[in-house]
Every structure is written in structure tokens, then in C-alpha cells.
């Protein structure tokens, strides 16, 4: 019997969603499962029927759900169809029927903030940096998940270099790269030399702006080093592809996944990670790299607790 997997989200087009899709594609290829992607669009009214349509078919062995706006519909459906296994990606809810794949984006962002701050502190000692002693952040919409990234980023920066200024802005939308690019230019203009994007397609504009302005940016969710090679300093990976793949594999292998179980993907488990881009890695001074390693260890060991925003 074929294994059928569904994924439902409004964000398949954005970094994190792309990562999920990649994981599923890989599972499709390697494990021979059947995958159905359901795009929710952006109308709250539609979500519940879409969940119902999926659950009622009874056809899917595992349903991945991504996006906080779907929570309401998810919980209702999960309660109504206890036999359908839903995996909520990127958060933990009260329901015991749902499986959770939780990513510690705050931890990853903590590392990104530390890197940005340490580099900014070096100032013009590093090629392409100025002495603004400031770092930037461009968010998509001003929503809690993005604030969670921001909180980690800020804490990382302050921990690594307390004097660094952080300018954070939001584009108000995930799909206006032009606005992302403009915001980034504004941040550069105000002294930031490194800008972290957490803004989906808007963020692509951030990365492109770093190339246009000959400055630095930090990618998010997936490996974005190649969007603006040499200008993307690092990418904060949220390895949804890995998470998704391993969960699917468990199903294929007949290992039961416990409803209500929480699968955590953090620095410790390697589910989130700061990837220094190979094009830039040589420009990063050794002491910065060492400090980053130390900070990472502190977080993993629990010496530093990274704040989270809900």
C-alpha cells in the first residue's frame, strides 16, 4: 500500500515552506510516497473546509501543517478526525492529538545576531564593513513568529557585543521584494552593514540589496548563500526538510509517531543552524568564529537561555 502524505500551508512559496517541499520531494523520490500539497491561500474562511476535505478523504497517513493562522482550523479538524495524523510545524499547541515539529528559530537567530554584532564591531577592519556599529533586521509582517526571530537576533547581538545598535523594520508584507530592498537600503544608509532578513520573498529583496549596495546580509530558513554570492554572510537554517523527511520515513518504516509528541529542532539537535556562507567564510576573523562556537555551546548547554516571543 502506498503511503500518502499531505502538506497544507499558505507559505509553500517562502523559504521555510520551500524547505518543507524539498523534504517532501526527497521523500517522494527516495521513499516512494505520494505527496499532495494543498495551498490554503489567505482567506481565513477557507481553512476549515480545506482541512475537512483532506481529513475526510481518509487517504493521508500524515498531514503536515505550517502556519499559525491555520491553528484554529487544525485543532477543530484534529478533534473531529482523531485518526488523521497532523504534524504542526513550527510551534506547540495544547492539543494532544497533534504531532509537533518545533523549531528553535530564536536559537538560530541568536547565532545570527551574534555573528552580525561581532562583525559589525570589527567595523572597517573587515572588507565591506563600515564603522556604523549597527546591524539591521528586516521582517516580513509584524507577527509573533517573526518577533521570535527578532528576539533571538537581538539577544544574540547584545550578548556578543552589548554596544551594537539594532535597527529593526518590517515590510508589512511577505511579497514585495522591492520594499524589502528599499528597507535594506534605508538600513544601510543609517549605518547598519549587516541585515538579517526574515521576510520570505520580501527578504529576497533584502539579499539582492546587499549585493547592489556591496554590503552584507544574512539569509534565513534555507541556504540562501547563492542569492547574492559574497554578500550573504550566513544563512540561518531551519531544517524543515530534514524534519519532514525523517517523520515521513518513520511512517514508511512503520514506526508509530506518538500523537502529542513534540519533536524539537534546535541548535542542540542540529535542526537549526547558522551556516557561514563559503563565499564569505574567509573574511570572518578567527576570533569571531571562536566566539560563535563558544556561544553556541553555551546555548546548547543551557548556560544561555534564549528568550522566545509568543
Amino acid at each position: 500500500k502506498d503511503v500518502h502524505i499531505a502538506a497544507i500551508s499558505g507559505y509553500f512559496a517562502q523559504g521555510f515552506g520551500v524547505s518543507i517541499v524539498n523534504g517532501l520531494k526527497k521523500a517522494e523520490k527516495d521513499l516512494g510516497v505520494k505527496v499532495k500539497l494543498v495551498d490554503t491561500g489567505n482567506r481565513a474562511l477557507d481553512y476549515e473546509e480545506q482541512f475537512n476535505n483532506i481529513a475526510k478523504s481518509g487517504e493521508y497517513d500524515l498531514v503536515f501543517v505550517m502556519g499559525w493562522e491555520l491553528v484554529d482550523a487544525l485543532q477543530k479538524t484534529a478533534a473531529a478526525y482523531p485518526n488523521t495524523k497532523f504534524v504542526f510545524i513550527d510551534g506547540v499547541l495544547d492539543s494532544k492529538q497533534i504531532i509537533y515539529a518545533n523549531f528553535a528559530q530564536n536559537q538560530g537567530s541568536f547565532m545570527a545576531g551574534a555573528l552580525a554584532a561581532l562583525m559589525a564591531e570589527k567595523g572597517s577592519a573587515v572588507e565591506g564593513l563600515g564603522d556604523g556599529k549597527a546591524i539591521g533586521f528586516v521582517g516580513g509582517r509584524d507577527i509573533p513568529v517573526i518577533r521570535d526571530f527578532l528576539a533571538g537576533y537581538e539577544q544574540g547581538a547584545k550578548t556578543a557585543a552589548p554596544d551594537i545598535r539594532l535597527d529593526s523594520v518590517f515590510a508589512g508584507t511577505f511579497d514585495d521584494p522591492a520594499k524589502g530592498s528599499e528597507l535594506t537600503m534605508a538600513l544601510y544608509g543609517q549605518g547598519s552593514d549587516i541585515v538579517y532578513n526574515v521576510a520570505g520573498p520580501t527578504g529576497e529583496g533584502v539579499l539582492q540589496a546587499s549585493a547592489a549596495a556591496d554590503k552584507y546580509s544574512i539569509g534565513v530558513d534555507i541556504d540562501q548563500c547563492n542569492v547574492a554570492p559574497g554578500h550573504v554572510m550566513a544563512s540561518m537554517l531551519k531544517k524543515a526538510d530534514v524534519a519532514v523527511y525523517s517523520l515521513v520515513k518513520d511512517v514508511v518504516d512503520g514506526k508509530g509517531i506518538e500523537p502529542g509528541s513534540i519533536h524539537t529542532y534546535d541548535l542542540k539537535s542540529g535542526g537549526v543552524e547558522l551556516l557561514l556562507c563559503p563565499q564569505v567564510v574567509d573574511k570572518i576573523p578567527a576570533d569571531v568564529k571562536a566566539r560563535l562556537e563558544a556561544l553556541k555551546t553555551d546555548v546548547i548547554d543551557g548556560k544561555i537561555t534564549v528568550a522566545t516571543v509568543k
Binding site: K36, V38, D39, G41, N42, R43, A44, L45, D46, E48, E49, Q50, N52, N53, I54, S57, W68, E69, V71, G91, R141, D142, I143, P144, V145, D148, G172, K310
Partner: protein, 347 residues
Amino acid sequence: MSDRIDSLLGQALAILFALGLGAIVILTVDESPLRVLVTLLNGAFGNPERIAGTLLQTTPILICGIAACISLRAGLFNIGIEGQLFMGGFWATWVGFSFNLPPVLHLLLAMAVAIIAGMAWIAIPAFFRARYNTNEVVSTILANYVAILVTSYLTINIFKRPGGLSETPPIHESAYLPELFSFSRLNWGLIIGLVLACAVHFFFTRMSRGYAVSEMGANPKFAEYGGIDIKRQIFVVLLASGAVGGLAGGVEALGVHHRFMEGFAPGFGFDGVIAALLANGSPIGTIFTALFFGALRSGSLLLEVDTTASREIITVIQALIILAVSAQITIKRRASDSTAGERRWKF
């Protein structure tokens, strides 16, 4: 009567033409039009739940459509229904979660506030349209953007509930608009919409004010000659249209979502305008066009799950239908308005 049949026939032909084009579009994305049609029908009417789902989708389109009808009949173009809906939805929610009131009273107050919010949101464009003839199409479209941003601001920066959700706290149950059946979120909003459609139909066909408004839309010079105060009436009509737009938001907030969040009800305002246009500004006709769009929307939800075609195909087909019908209307107009040519010579 034959006029009526002619025009219905014309519209039907136009819709068929658009559907034909739509079929071609579907073929280009490698899906069978027939399968799409069957899935659509199944998704929209396959079982009682799905029928209720269709009616659930129909409700906001219908109420927004009535808001549009009110302005269209007066020869005005309120494209800001979207913004009025967001405002109405937000402020109804606000009443719903910030006050503790007895059940019916709470609901009524929240509805009233939704209506007032919708009116307030159109008041300035309406004033400038009435007084200085400021193009209401553009001013109401721009106001939509502002409304969506402002409600987002209020939701996320001011009233956000704790937790990972970008939404307001839920409203108290005393402000719920009751559901009609246990198996669906379909609620009294549909009844409100139907009653409103009949009321607006009654207004335009039976009431003196409605007569004055529709004559202003049909021939403003005649209305002016008959002693109708056009400026005042423009203002009032736009306010009324905004009020219904706000009500649509109230119904969605109190009947379906019980809270306000991002993505509250995007696009329903536009759908409503289009439904009203297709119905030629008739509220009763809008019931059917709204149902048509509701079925398309609802059917497309299954389409997404059961076929490889995406829901945007439905948007494309919708647009094609509007285009076909808009041209159709004028083909008739040109044929019947033979006096226009005569008049030109008399100049």
C-alpha cells in the same frame, strides 16, 4: 418582457463564452475540464456539509454585493467595501471581546458598531464625492489599503492576544451570531444577507427614496429636474453602502471567526462588487451571482485537494466572465440607443 429574455440570453451566452475560454485555460495546465467541473460541483454541492460550506462562502459575497448594489443603483462605485468590511469586522470584534453584556444586547451592539465603523470608513470619500465630485473609485480603493493596515496595527500592536497567534482575543459567546446547523459554521449571516437583499430590493422597487436613488443612477438630469437633491443623496447612498460593507465584516467576525486576525476576509469586497455588477445592480440577482461565486469558491477548495488545477484558475474564469458580460451589456445598449446619434446632429 422579450427585452428581459434577450438580456438574460445575452448574459448566459457571455458566461458560456467565458467558461469556454476557462476550459482552454484549464487544458493548458494539463487537467481535464470535465474533471474540474465535476470536482467543482462535488466540492460545492456534494453533501449537506458542502452545501452549507458553499452558503458560508456565499454569505460575505452576498452582503458585500448588496453594499455594492446600493451604490451601483445610484450610479456610484463603492470599491472600498473591502475596507469597510475590515473596519466593521475589527470593531465588532472589539465590542465582542472588550465588553461583558447580556447575550442579545451584546450581539446587537457589536453589529451596530460594525455598521457605524463601515459608515465612518466611507464618510470622507463620500463627502468629497458628493461635494467636490472627487473620484470615489480611487479614493475608496486607496482607503482599502489603509483599512487593512490600520486593522492589522490594531490587532497586532494593540489588542493582540498572548501566544503565537496574530489575532485579537476571542469574543465572548454573548456576542456570537448563532449558527444555523450543528455541522457547519453557516450562521444567521446568511439570513441577514437574504433579508437585506429583499429589503434593498423592496427599497428600490417600493419606496420613494429608493425610487429617487435609482432615478439618480439612471438619469441624473431627470432626477435633478424632478427636484431630487443629488449631492445630499450621493452622500447618504455612499454611507448606506458603507454601512452594509461594515455589516458584512460584523457578520464574519461574530458569526464565523469570533475574533479578528490577519487575512480576516480578504477579497470579499471585490467579489461582492463583481457579483453585484454581474447582477446588473439588482439585489435579488446578487443572491444568485453571489451563490454562483460562493459555489465556485467552495468548489475550488476541493479542486485544490482532488486535482492538479489550482484555485487561481477559478479567479481567471471569474475575470473572464466579468469581461465577457461587461462587453455584452454595451452591445445591447448601442443597439437600443438610436437616439444618441440623432441628438448629436441636433447639436
